[in-house]
């Protein structure tokens, strides 16, 4: 359980998240990609707390902050996706291109 | 006094907007009265002027002390001459009748606003203040051309003018900043910059700064090849706006060459004088030739501005080329060249101003600027013809009129420095003669076509305006002593220092 392995795990989760966020058409699936990115960040934060940063109590707090961010984004995200689906019947990015140029 | 002079037109503009004046006539009278005030005040300033060789009658107030910028105005020989010319030209242009398009109030207000901006450029002694007025003049002119110009094309011309000259002025802003940053503590005070010359020399920074300024002023003046904004702006502008554009706004470019480049960076200028002079020469010859080929009255006159401003900058470059101390023998010729360039600014303002006002009269009556459609007008309009002839001869440099006093001094002063350039520049004299006499001949002489049988001669208002300008052209041509004395108070210390 070395620091390096843990960080590679975090990077992998983050990378998969990036891939998902960029490749998925559906808003909900994109949000899953975004969550995976944050997941990777949480792994990195906890790892660096545990394996590098001298157990500063801020490390744990950092993870809490990240989770807060994740929760808030998920909540607002659901609300917005619901909203746009209600108004526009749009569930994928390709359906929203009225605003451009 | 100078502050009052400067802001009176602006105040008048605000009053015009606010007061319940209606009707073109009463507005014109009111605006005329407001515009008369700076002229009178500047006469007072002139009478108090001592010619000490430095700035006089300075008035200042703190503005942005943290940045080293202040409100400071004052006059020396150069700025006094140009400011007086500006006030005169504005008075003549404001009372000149045009088609106000049903918006006389806005027209006069804008014109007075432009007067404050223009006077401010010449009277400011703070570089930042100078820039402020410089830019404001663009805004005023943009709207004048756009709203009261001729047709659809006017908008494009206005925009082109605004964009092109704003590009120039922003480049100048970089130069201003460069000068500013070279002082310690940082200041925009022009007197300080002239006295200490913090960025003078041959370094990269000085060269770049000089180039930036020179580009800005070359656009404004304009020198070939930065002149392409000028013809459309002139053609599409209402005549009084053309008058101000040619008579006042172009002078800002040449004024900058003297005030900033020559006074603040003389060493750099002396090293780069030759390219500037060559550019000026090209403008002289090229401007004259292209003017010769124009078939539109206003375009033709517009291009002669390129020619005349070329003379002015040639004179400035010749004066700048040699540093005092290196060639003591050149003091007199440098002095002549610079004096000539300054007189050229004043003379060109009056002459070309008058010519452009006349195109306005032409447009009011004939609705065209095409030379080929005109002819024989002298039969119906002898006064118009006479005034046009005097103005044309003045512009082509006939002795006894203002243009000669200017150009002769430039030639004589520039000759020892750049004999070949001056010799080639003389060709401009003959080309301008050709183009102006050809213009007179084809517009006013020859048989009168049927369609102009009802052509009216100038009315009283137009005559007053024009006669005033022409009178000064003649006075400067015959007895320029009063003007040369004021200019000399500025030139002499500069060439001997």
């Amino acid at each position: 359980m070395s620091r390096e392995v843990l960080l590679v795990l975090g990077a992998a989760l983050f990378g998969i998240g990036v891939y998902g966020a960029l490749s998925q058409q559906s808003f909900v699936m994109i949000m899953m990609g975004l969550e995976l990115m944050v997941n990777g960040a949480i792994v990195a934060a906890v790892t660096l707390w545990s394996r590098a940063a001298a157990h500063s109590p801020k490390g744990q707090l950092l993870a809490v902050v990240f989770m807060t961010v994740m929760a808030v984004e998920a909540a607002i995200g659901f609300a917005l996706v619901t909203n746009v689906f209600r108004i526009r019947r749009a569930d994928i990015t390709e359906k929203l291109k009225a605003l451009r140029g | 006094m100078i502050t009052v002079t400067l802001f009176l037109p602006l105040l008048g503009a605000l009053l015009l907007v606010v007061l319940p004046l209606r009707g073109e006539r009463s507005l014109r009278v009111a605006a005329g009265l407001v515009a008369l005030a700076p002229l009178v005040l500047l006469m007072v300033v002139w009478s108090r002027f001592k010619g000490t060789g430095t700035f006089e009658q300075i008035e200042s107030a703190p503005w942005i002390p943290t940045l080293g910028a202040s409100y400071m105005v004052g006059v020396d020989g150069l700025s006094l001459a140009l400011a007086a010319m500006t006030a005169l030209l504005f008075f003549a242009a404001i009372i000149y009748p045009v088609d106000w398009r049903g918006k006389p109030k806005a027209y006069f207000a804008l014109f007075l606003f432009l007067e404050t901006a223009s006077l401010g450029v010449f009277l400011s002694l703070d570089l930042l203040l100078f820039y402020v007025f410089w830019d404001l003049s663009l805004v005023g002119m943009y709207f004048l051309i756009g709203v009261w110009g001729h047709g659809e094309a006017a908008r494009r011309s206005a925009l082109k003018f605004f964009l092109y000259t704003l590009a120039g002025s922003l480049v100048m802003l970089l130069g201003v900043l460069s000068l500013y940053l070279s002082t310690a503590p940082h200041t925009f005070d022009m007197r300080h910059l002239i006295a200490t010359r913090p960025l003078d020399g041959t370094g990269l920074a000085a060269t770049l700064t000089f180039s930036g300024f020179a580009l800005a002023f070359a656009i404004k003046a304009p020198l070939v090849p930065f002149h392409t904004w000028l013809p459309p702006a002139h053609v599409d502008a209402p005549a009084p706006a053309s008058t101000i554009l040619a008579g006042v706004l172009l002078k800002m470019g040449t004024y900058g060459f003297v005030r900033i480049l020559l006074q603040m960076m003389p060493q750099t200028f002396s090293r780069l004088a030759l390219p500037v002079a060559i550019l000026a020469l090209v403008s002289v010859v090229y401007g004259a030739l292209v003017a010769l080929a124009q078939q539109n009255v206003k375009r033709r006159i517009a291009y002669t501005s390129v020619n005349h401003m070329g003379y002015a900058i040639l004179g400035i470059a010749a004066a700048a080329a040699i540093l005092p101390g290196l060639g003591g023998g050149f003091t007199q010729t440098r002095s002549l060249a610079l004096t000539g360039a300054t007189v050229e600014m004043v003379a060109h303002g009056l002459i070309t101003g008058a010519l452009f006002l006349m195109t306005g009269s032409l447009w009011r009556r004939a609705d065209t600027y095409e030379i080929s459609e005109l002819g024989g007008l002298a039969r119906r309009a002898p006064i118009f013809t006479g005034l046009a002839a005097v103005a044309a001869f003045a512009s082509l440099g006939l002795p006894g009129l203002a243009g000669f006093v200017a150009e002769f001094q430039i030639f004589v002063g520039g000759f020892p420095v750049y004999p070949w350039l001056i010799a080639l520049a003389l060709l401009g004299l003959i080309i301008t003669a050709a183009l102006f006499l050809n213009l007179l001949q084809r517009v006013f002489l020859g048989p009168l076509p049927e369609r102009w049988q009802e052509f009216r001669d100038l009315d009283r208002g137009e005559i007053v305006s024009l006669a005033m300008l022409i009178a000064f052209v003649v006075v400067i041509g015959v007895a320029p002593g009063w003007l040369l004395a004021v200019i000399d108070s500025f030139v002499r210390p500069l060439v001997t220092r």
């Binding site: - | 964009l163 030739l289 292209v290 002549l336 001949q441």
Partner: protein
């Protein structure tokens, strides 16, 4: 030099100012036709009186415009004679004009311009430095423009005036240069510093002066402008050819050439003068228009004066200038009467001797003087020139003699053809009293000039002009008289044979020579047309091609942006397509190089940038996932730039 009194200095200032003020007054009172001639003549007479006073008191004065710039005036040297000559000749001419042009709508203008012409010439004459000279010089030119274009409703006349003005102004540039060089060399414009000049500066002054004088005095190759000037009214021609304008060149040279230390100046003047005298003679002989023939003779006579100056006897030139002024004005007024009488100036259809006997006699007096027949003054002054030339040797003597005989030939020809007897001639419009009086006045002056032949008179006249008489070789005088006589006889013989009009030459040969040896055509081809073409080309270029450069640059930017703008997908795949794109770009560029002519001003730039704008807006597809891709690419770029920077700074 005598110290002039205050009054005489004022009188000198009055010389130019009186006529100019008179001119102003005339224009102001233009409605009252009856008083106009009186005012004009009064002004001239007052000027004449002032001139006499100043010629005796020799004042020096000046004015200051600024600390450096100022003019200097003096009546000196040849000027003593000139100040008097100008108003003296002008008075009869004005008298003529006030009668013959009385019904013109521009009557006041004509008289005013004639007065102004006199004033400007007086200023030129009293100039004692280059600034004053230049002012007078240019003003004279401007007046000539206005006079030639006097009848402006006929558009040919203003055009001719323009040509004449441009030709002389081209020469004026020489004076500008001379003034500038003189100032550069001596630090002042004053004539009395000219001897200090040396080297290149002196040469420039000399060259400029020669150029200016040649143009004003209608020497080669500028001579043709005098033909165009013929479109002006008769009075203007008379004045322009005699005492003003054309005289200025010879006057300035006579005054300045001796004091400019340039060795080649004098020979050049002489050579130029001789060439013009001969060429002008030939042109005058072959010309069939009375006024044009007279004009050519003017060039020729001034050529003779140039010779005199060139060989170092300016007094002879001055004397000939004076006699020539009188008889040439006389001849022109005679031509004017002929025109008035018949409506034509064609020599083949005049022969007014019977119809206008008095005019014929006065014309004959003028012609004899022109021919150089003693005892007229014109003959004396011409003999002086021959004498002067003979000092330098055979070449100039022969040349001048030939020119003299040519002048006798054309003088006789003109007199015979214009005012010879023609039995078939019917009634013509006679000249009125004032016109006749003016002609008689000038004829009188011409006759009076015969006093030059009295011993001592000429010498004192020469002294008055600050010079000396030429002591010539006796044989030269004899030779020239013989040549003149021979020419007279030849003329008579040809007249009898009826070949005097065209000498039996076909028009194909005669006309090009008569129209100044084709110089106008050449000038048209070599100067006017190229300049106009250049002007038009530049104007077109100004509208199009300069901007085309700007536009081209902008377009390249447009293409580049299009390359990037197609879509983000393609941006990622751009590597694959880059080769074909590069090929396309080259193709586009070469097409662009081919493409011009769309008129685009600086808006071309705007258009170019605008194209970039349109392209860059395509980045904003409105599709969120492509925004994501921008973020991803941007982040990679950020890191790449930072890494490069770090690598660069660590190296």
């Amino acid at each position: 030099m005598r110290i002039p009194s205050e009054g005489s200095a004022l009188a000198m200032l009055a010389l130019p100012l009186l006529p100019l003020l008179g001119a102003g007054t005339l224009l102001f009172l233009r409605g009252k036709r009856s008083v106009l001639p009186i005012i004009a003549l009064a002004a001239l007479l007052l000027t004449l009186a002032s001139a006499v006073w100043t010629a005796l008191s020799l004042p020096v004065s000046g004015w200051a415009w600024g600390p450096i710039l100022g003019g200097r005036l003096a009546v000196a040297g040849l000027g003593r004679m000139m100040v008097i000559l100008v108003p003296a000749i002008a008075a009869p001419v004005v008298l003529y004009a006030s009668s013959s042009n009385r019904r013109d709508s521009g009557f006041a203008r004509l008289l005013a311009l004639l007065l102004a012409f006199v004033g400007a010439m007086e200023l030129l004459v009293i100039a004692d430095d280059f600034l004053a000279l230049l002012i007078g010089w240019e003003l004279v030119g401007a007046c000539s423009w206005a006079l030639i274009g006097y009848e402006w409703t006929d558009s040919a006349r203003p055009r001719a005036a323009l040509d004449a003005f441009l030709t002389t102004r081209a020469g004026d540039l020489g004076l500008y240069i001379a003034a500038a060089a003189a100032f550069a060399g001596t630090g002042s414009f004053r004539f009395d510093t000219l001897p200090q000049l040396h080297g290149t500066t002196a040469a420039i002054v000399a060259g400029g002066l020669l150029l200016a004088a040649a143009a004003k005095s209608a020497q080669l190759p500028f001579s043709p402008w005098l033909f165009r000037a013929m479109l002006g009214p008769t009075a203007a021609s008379a004045l322009l050819h005699s005492a003003t304008m054309v005289a200025a060149g010879a006057y300035a040279l006579a005054r300045l050439a001796p004091i400019i230390p340039v060795p080649w100046l004098a020979p050049s003047i002489a050579a130029l003068g001789l060439a013009t005298a001969l060429a002008g003679g030939v042109v005058a002989v072959l010309q069939t228009d009375l006024k044009k023939a007279l004009a050519a003779s003017t060039s020729a006579q001034y050529g003779l004066m140039f010779v005199a100056i060139g060989v170092g006897v300016p007094a002879a030139a001055g004397m000939h200038l004076a006699t020539h002024a009188a008889f040439k004005a006389l001849l022109f007024l005679g031509a004017g009467i002929a025109l008035h009488a018949t409506g034509t100036l064609e020599l083949s259809s005049l022969r007014l001797g019977r119809a206008l006997p008095l005019t014929a006699i006065t014309f004959a007096i003028g012609a004899l003087a022109l021919a150089g027949v003693p005892p007229l003054g014109g003959a004396y002054s011409k003999e002086q020139i021959v004498a002067a030339a003979s000092q330098t040797g055979l070449f100039f003597t022969a040349g001048v003699t030939a020119a003299a005989s040519l002048s006798a030939l054309y003088a006789g020809r003109l007199a015979l053809l214009a005012f010879g007897p023609d039995p078939n001639r019917g009634e013509v419009r006679p000249p009125n009293g004032a016109v006749t009086a003016s002609v008689l006045l000038l004829a009188g002056v011409t006759l009076v000039s015969s006093v030059l032949w009295f011993p001592g008179v000429a010498a004192s006249v020469a002294e008055l002009m600050g010079g000396e008489l030429a002591i010539g070789e006796g044989w030269a005088a004899g030779a020239s008289l013989v040549a003149i006589a021979a020419a007279g006889i030849a003329c008579w013989l040809l007249w009898r044979r009826g070949d005097l009009v065209d000498f039996g030459l076909s028009p194909k040969v005669r006309l090009p020579v008569a129209e100044w040896l084709g110089i106008p055509l050449v000038a048209d081809m070599l100067v006017k047309r190229p300049v106009l073409t250049l002007a038009r080309t530049l104007a077109t270029m100004d509208d199009r091609i300069i901007d085309a450069g700007v536009r081209g640059a902008a377009r390249i930017a447009g293409y580049v942006s299009r390359l990037f703008g197609h879509s983000l997908e393609q941006l990622v795949d751009a590597g694959v397509n880059s080769l074909s794109t590069a090929t396309r770009l080259v193709a586009e560029a070469s097409r662009m190089a081919d493409d011009r002519g769309v008129d685009a001003t600086i808006e071309g730039a705007a258009r170019g940038v605008g194209a970039v704008g349109t392209q860059s807006r395509r980045l904003q597809t409105g599709l969120s996932h492509q925004y994501y891709l921008i973020v991803a690419i941007g982040t990679v770029l950020l890191i790449a730039i930072a890494s490069l920077e770090i690598v660069a700074t660590h190296r």
